[in-house]
């Protein structure tokens, strides 16, 4: 698998670290109820199909939101986390 890094272009999978669904970007506020924190940290849609994920490109330090299909593994998009949303 290869992924596009906005800094470095298409690079091999071995250079990246994935931490899972992009849900980690939606951090609740400090005073959010425990349910919100539970959902944020643990509960996932876990789609079989198009998904948004968080990947880290180790050589350049960029965190990415990657759009990828979890069944076919096709990568359809990638943006730096800083530019996402």
């Amino acid at each position: 698998m290869r992924l596009p890094c906005p800094c470095c272009g298409w690079r091999d999978l071995r250079e990246f670290t994935c931490i899972g669904a992009a849900d980690y970007l939606e951090r609740p506020t400090a005073d959010a109820p425990p349910e919100a924190w539970d959902a944020y940290l643990h509960v996932r849609d876990n789609p079989a199909g198009p998904a948004r994920e968080l990947w880290y490109h180790d050589p350049c330090g960029t965190w990415l939101v990657v759009e990828r299909d979890t069944v076919m593994h096709a990568v359809t998009g990638s943006r730096a986390v800083e530019d996402a949303q």
Binding site: M1, L13, R14, C18, D45, N46, A48, H73
Partner: protein, 416 residues
């Protein structure tokens, strides 16, 4: 039909024409007392123990493909009871005890082979962590021996003791650990459940779930509507999709784990060996192939296949640990879809929907758990009470913080 050596001889003389179907191929009835979604190891074991332990036989197992088509037929077949956290420890201990009588129980040779498992360690810190684990195993009534470097060398002389990047300090030897023939476990439980009257329905995919005022009443399938009082979801790998049919979102992310087998070889690795400085575990099947695996590919996936970096990392670990395997050739690789939970431990619990039960989240340790998982899920579905050895496998433990994180790697699903 009872299986035995005598029977094999008798049928052999008769041209093997007398062997019968190992399980019936029934059409689904419109209603059952209980439905198990998922005809894998856990689902079949659940059905078996529902019938055997609780007398529940008006039960159907619904399988979208063929029985045993999921991870039960796609793993590295390791059976062990070497956990240390209360909650895991007693559960896997119970499971190993069930394994130890499984052939007689099922009248099916699942080839459970207690050839011994050795977890290697490579630093003082790892030794202390394994000592903690070993002492927990002893306290649970299981077996453990702490080997030093020479103790390991005596048993596994083919490891690289001289030049490995991470020297071998010793190992934790779990003599009752071993392997089993994975497919046979599914078939044995299937045959046992079928004999007791459970309907095993293949090629029957659940497409929807009927939930009325917070209670489950049945499922829609590719072979029609089926109603039931109680429904168990036992579909590791696809748990999130099935649960979503009932409107549930779960603390699970699906990941891919690759495994490998080499061409057949004469006996050369007699134990299960696990490397401590990188995920690598290996044993040799009775057919002669070296069966081994490593870590997740780390990205969410429902494809039962992986990519080359995952392959390379496993091979690299093998080469630094036991360079002799450089001459062996990989014959086949495959991937299994893992229900990864935020603490690496499973869930056997009721759900917020009445009558709907969940057995899921086995991460990549589900194979050895099959007997106890079936036992405890059957107990839960029959009695509505958690079985004592599975009482900590709660669905709400992530919210409460009463976690079972053996690895201490935290809530990120793919780190377990």
């Amino acid at each position: 039909m009872r299986f035995s050596g005598f029977r094999v001889l008798k049928e052999g003389f008769g041209g093997n024409r007398g062997w019968k179907l190992q399980w019936r191929k029934p059409d689904p009835k419109p209603a059952y007392d209980m439905l198990i979604i998922g005809g894998g190891g856990h689902g079949l074991a659940t059905a078996y123990y529902l019938a055997k332990n609780h007398g529940m036989t008006n039960v159907a197992v619904l399988e979208k493909g063929y029985l045993g088509s999921g991870n039960i037929g796609r793993n590295t077949t390791i059976v062990r009871a070497n956990y240390f956290l209360p909650g895991n420890s007693e559960f896997y201990s119970h499971s190993l005890k069930l394994w130890e009588g499984l052939e007689e129980e099922l009248n099916y040779n699942v080839m459970h082979s207690q050839r011994g498992l050795i977890n290697l360690f490579h630093s003082d810190g790892q030794r202390d962590a394994f000592a903690r684990r070993g002492n927990a195993m002893l306290a649970q009534g299981d077996d453990a021996i702490l080997l030093d470097r020479e103790g390991v060398r005596a048993i596994l002389p083919y490891l690289d003791f001289e030049q490995a990047r991470f020297p071998i300090y010793g190992g934790l030897y779990h003599k009752r650990g071993g392997t089993a023939r994975h497919d046979a476990v599914a078939w044995g439980y299937a045959r046992g459940a079928d004999l007791r009257g459970v309907d095993l329905i293949e090629n029957c995919e659940v497409t929807g779930m009927s939930v009325e005022s917070g209670r489950v009443s049945g499922v829609s399938t590719t072979r029609g509507e089926i109603s039931a009082r109680k429904v168990g979801i036992v579909t590791a790998g696809r748990t999130s999709q099935v649960a979503a049919m009932a409107g549930l979102r779960l603390p699970i992310e699906s990941h891919i784990l690759q495994a490998f087998v080499t061409e057949g070889l004469k006996p050369c690795i007699d134990h299960v060996v696990s490397f401590g400085m990188g995920h690598f575990y290996i044993s040799q099947s009775d057919k002669g192939g070296l069966v081994f695996g490593g870590d997740l590919d780390f990205y969410p996936s429902y494809a039962s296949r992986g990519n080359l970096p995952g392959v390379e990392q496993v091979m690299e670990a093998g080469m630094t640990l036991m360079p002799m395997i450089g001459r062996a050739k990989i014959l086949r690789s495959w991937g299994g879809i893992m229900d990864m939970t935020p603490d690496g431990s499973p869930i056997i619990d009721r759900t917020p929907i009445d009558g709907l039960y969940l057995d899921a989240g086995w991460c990549y340790g589900g194979f050895k758990a099959v007997p106890a998982s079936g036992w405890c899920m059957a107990h839960l579905m029959a009695t509505d009470q958690p079985h004592p050895v599975a009482r900590r496998f709660r669905l709400d433990r992530f919210a409460t913080g009463r976690l079972l994180d053996e690895e201490g790697t935290g809530s990120q699903h793919n780190l377990h």
